[in-house]
């Protein structure tokens, strides 16, 4: 997909696509409603206790990440796996493409992996002549459309079933209706065939368990389980922070992840896959590679943004965000959209390129309350704005001047009172029946969609003496 560098252009494109916005509103509305119902069932107080526990687990892991990474790597090696520690996306891609070449792979089947989207893996494998097939239904849809995911857990949320039917009909031998059962039936049939001829399987990773080396993958379609069972060579890609100490911690995280993401008590398939196939085992890979990707994560350790590494990619903050619900995911411009993307994109890809995402939020704080691991996204959005202005000196010139002026005026009562009286004196050409409907910049920005009250005939500080005349000091 073409990357449009201006956020403004991207979101205007989104706003002018009513079918997409309707699909996103439906999708987020459904997920949000289901999540709320599942929390109601658990009980809000128990839910808070769950979140506290999950936050503590994630904080502990992030604070001891070196130790757990070492333990994880040791255990994967012990179980016959190979490990690649990739500092950058390029290193990870390099490792996987070399492996594909070595195996002379023709057919590569993937389950959903946001990290693989982050490092643009598919494109590089296709360049080698491999057929890369996305087996997650949503990923398969957007692969056919030549698009990127618009939601962390529902990558094709922005499409409606008519659009999906068009995409499927372009590759289907028989004509499909727009019925969801028909569409799913086609995808199932089509992908089943592909599963039988896997050369290399690639999966994502929800959680890697440090003390056993097990990789946990949660899917509702079972596709990742088939891939881990049937691939002769299996590659799992994970962000370096996606570790849990032990399987007890997994119990907490799985129930929190499912409820936050979709409102399910548990995801349908929770697969734990450990190392290579033993002689007496019927399935599992003969060769296993774990690719652990840093790609900007480790530089956040020890900073005020460290807690963003708590994220378990449930997508709950997207559904909670009024901005996401009204522009969808593609407008954010990088792989992670919504509030988490507005924080991760500038941190991973630079404030220069993505700093304006920190302003793509009303600062309503709904994301922090939706977050199962209590990432203070709201505080981080403030901090990013402050970093942009003060640390990187990248504030807009007009704003720099305006806030210097504001500060000088509002720190003094007499300057404040003088300037607001001047403003009131000169507002008269704009005021009609106590309201302003048209005006020059910058208030024209406000007035495009809304009216504005005029400044009062008498300011409160002017009527206070009258209100207070009976008061004895």
């Amino acid at each position: 997909m073409h990357f449009e560098p201006s956020f403004q252009k991207r979101y205007h494109k989104a706003l002018s696509d009513p079918a997409m916005i309707k699909a996103v509103k439906n999708g987020t509305g459904r997920l949000r409603g289901q999540r709320a119902a599942s929390i109601e069932a658990v009980g809000p107080e128990r839910w808070m206790a769950f979140r506290d526990r999950a936050e503590a687990i994630r904080l502990h892991v992030i604070q001891h990440l070196d130790q757990y990474l070492e333990q994880l790597v040791d255990n994967v090696l012990k179980k016959g796996g190979h490990v690649c520690l990739a500092r950058t996306g390029e290193e990870a891609v390099q490792y996987i493409t070399s492996l594909a070449q070595k195996k002379n792979a023709k057919s590569i089947i993937k389950s959903k992996s946001m990290v693989s989207e982050e490092i643009h893996l598919n494109h590089q494998l296709e360049k080698l002549g491999c057929e890369v097939i996305e087996s997650d239904l949503g990923e398969y849809i957007i692969q056919l459309a030549g698009e990127t995911p618009s939601h962390i857990i529902a990558p094709a949320m922005h499409k409606n079933r008519n659009q999906v039917a068009d995409l499927f009909n372009a590759v289907s031998k028989k004509k499909l209706s727009t019925e969801i059962a028909d569409l799913c039936g086609f995808a199932r049939e089509h992908l089943r065939e592909k599963f039988l001829g896997i050369d290399i399987g690639i999966t994502g990773c929800n959680f890697a368990i440090a003390d056993s080396g097990a990789i946990t993958i949660c899917t509702n379609e079972g596709n990742a389980r088939i891939i881990s069972a049937l691939s002769p060579t299996l590659v799992t890609i994970m962000g370096m922070e996606r570790i849990l100490p032990s399987i007890e911690d997994l119990a907490v995280m799985l129930s929190l992840l499912a409820r936050s993401a979709t409102g399910q008590k548990l995801t349908v398939y929770n697969t734990l896959s450990t190392g290579v196939r033993d002689e007496n085992e019927l399935d599992g890979p003969q060769e296993f590679h774990l690719v652990i990707v840093d790609n900007g994560r480790s530089k956040l350790l020890g900073t005020k943004y460290e807690k963003v590494l708590n994220c378990i990619r449930c997508g709950s903050c997207l559904n909670a965000c009024p901005v996401y619900r009204n522009i969808g995911g593609h407008a954010y411009g990088w792989v992670y959209p919504g509030p988490i993307g507005a924080v991760l994109s500038p941190l991973f890809q630079g404030i220069d390129k993505f700093g304006e995402l920190a302003y793509a939020t009303t600062l309503c704080g709904a994301c922090c309350f939706a977050c199962p691991v209590k990432i203070p996204l709201h505080d981080m959005l403030y901090a990013l704005r402050n970093d942009k202005v003060e640390l990187e000196n990248k504030g807009e010139l007009a704003e720099n001047i305006a806030y210097k002026g504001w500060s000088a005026t509002f720190a003094s009562m007499s300057r404040y009172r003088f300037s607001v009286r001047m403003a009131r004196r000169f507002q008269f050409p704009l005021v009609k029946a106590g309201k302003i409907a048209y005006g020059p910049p910058p208030i024209s920005d406000w007035l495009k969609h809304r009216d504005m009250p005029a400044l009062s005939d008498k300011f409160f500080h002017e009527i206070w003496p009258e209100l207070n005349k009976d008061r004895k000091e």
Binding site: C368, S456, E462
Partner: protein
């Protein structure tokens, strides 16, 4: 002396109420005095600093915040007609002075005595019924910073529900943002308009005659959109509703 109570408090009117909603200030003064508060209005107050803080201009905000802290240094309690301005003080001020222990301490003392209007009435005065009468169908928008940052959720609704004659209807998705977001409403006006339209649709669907709220900037956004869409729904601050009908505590 009006009110006659022993409880002293200082009014921090906030810039928006001072300049655009003086009537809200008047209602607030009347309601508080009727309910026994000895209210003063310290000279020198301007703005809490939220616009600059939210835009990332912490240095500029700190200059104004120090002035605000000084102005209210002698006040026993401070009461404000805005949830987000109170939240700015509660959350923003300690952040601003993270690296300045002397001012951080002064900021924390200020935080400890600062209340939003409905919070002050219910939690400090211990009053749940101010004795107002208002024969209208009213719904209420829960502003984000007041509920999520300040943690004040039920107090304004308790007060409204106890108004005589009121037909109070819960607003669906009351906790969803109205799309204001400070400079967001101007910088990303077209997204903001979509969000406020959702809010306005929900408000209209309740059939309410009045939308009440506790945060004047949210109300300015919602009423501005209602007005542009030609709606006749009246937008009022909670203080204005509580000021209706004089009431049993009227002097």
């Amino acid at each position: 002396m009006i009110g006659g109570g022993n409880l002293k408090a200082s009014l921090f009117i906030t810039c928006i109420a001072d300049l655009m909603y003086a009537d809200v200030g008047k209602s607030m003064v009347r309601v508080l005095k009727r309910n026994g508060v000895d209210l003063d209005f310290p000279e020198g107050q301007t703005c809490c600093g939220q616009p600059a803080f939210s835009s990332g201009y912490y240095k500029e905000t700190a200059v104004v915040a120090k002035k605000v802290i000084e102005v209210f240094e002698k006040s026993e309690r401070v009461v404000m007609p805005s949830g987000s301005c109170a939240a700015m003080i509660h959350h923003g001020y300690p952040t601003l002075f993270d690296n300045d222990p002397k001012w951080k301490k002064r900021a924390e003392e200020f935080v400890a005595k600062t209340y939003e209007f409905s919070q002050f009435i219910v939690d400090v005065l211990g009053i749940q019924d101010v004795g107002a009468t208002f024969n209208k169908k009213v719904t209420y928008h829960s502003s984000c910073h007041m509920t999520r940052l300040l943690g004040v959720e039920e107090q304004p609704k308790i007060l409204l529900k106890n108004v005589k004659g009121i037909d109070f209807i819960e607003l669906p998705f009351a906790f969803d943002c109205c799309g204001f977001g400070g400079t967001f409403s101007m910088k990303m006006k077209d997204i903001s308009a979509e969000i406020v339209d959702e809010k306005v649709d929900h408000i209209i669907a309740t059939g309410a005659e009045v939308l009440a709220g506790s945060d004047l900037t949210c109300l300015m956004n919602i009423s501005g959109r209602l007005s542009r869409r030609g709606s006749r729904i009246k937008v009022m601050h909670v203080a204005q509703v509580l000021d209706q009908g004089g009431g049993k505590n009227a002097f």
